[in-house]
Amino acid sequence: MSILAQVTYEATSKAESQAIAAAGQAGIAYGLATLGPGIGIGYLVGQSVQAMARQPEAAGMVRTTMFLGIAFTEALALIGFVVFILLKFV
């Protein structure tokens, strides 16, 4: 009886440790997926603000481009997030 209990316990703990490892890996993947777009948005906004400071009359145009750039860059993070959700829960 005690051997059976021990085998069951080991199997459970192995499954749990696998689940914890998978969750950790999914978290790392999602973190990496947001890192690139984060750098991209930082660079994009920095350059846009510099452009607005140099040429204030073009601020509307620059802000339009900046907003679309942010949205497109963010799409990469969203794709990473959706892949994370699908791998984790489906």
Partner: protein, 148 residues
């Protein structure tokens, strides 16, 4: 206009208002198609995904336009931390409902990606990059009013 702030109408708000109109047109079609594939739960999940994407755009535009009225430096802050905040909110919005009976994660995920990219690409056709019309291409009505 000074170099630090932008006093004109916020282009982000104009763009997002137009995107919401387009989402209202394309959304029901997407809900119908995904509803036919995944059933009622798929349709509900698609509607939820659509709402998340639209709310994300609206929040981004609101944060940027609000910060832009104060200073360009704050706009940088709003763009970067806004990105972090909005990703966290999207994560929470899905995390909280992930085990609900009406949630189908596959159509929800597909909707988020397809709607986000689809709306942006559709909007690109209507974007004007000129000094006179910085956000959207002018309609005949706005051309006439600006000529007066």
């Amino acid at each position: 206009m000074s170099t630090g702030t932008f006093d004109g109408p916020a282009p982000e708000t104009m763009i997002v208002r137009d995107m919401v109109k387009k989402a209202a047109i394309a959304g029901p079609l997407l809900i119908l198609v995904f509803g036919l594939i995944w059933g009622a739960n798929g349709a509900l999940s698609t509607a939820y995904g659509l709402a998340i994407v639209v709310a994300n755009f609206v929040l981004a535009a609101a944060m940027l336009s609000y910060a832009g009225r104060i200073s360009a430096g704050l706009m940088m802050f709003a763009a970067l931390f806004g990105y972090l905040i909005r990703l966290t909110l999207i994560f929470l919005a899905i995390w909280l409902v992930r085990e609900a009976s009406w949630v189908e994660l596959l159509p929800l995920g597909i909707t988020i990606i397809v709607t986000h990219l689809g709306l942006l690409l559709w909007e690109m056709k209507h974007i004007s990059l000129s000094l006179a019309y910085p956000a959207l291409k002018p309609t005949s009505v706005s051309k006439e009013s600006s000529a007066k």
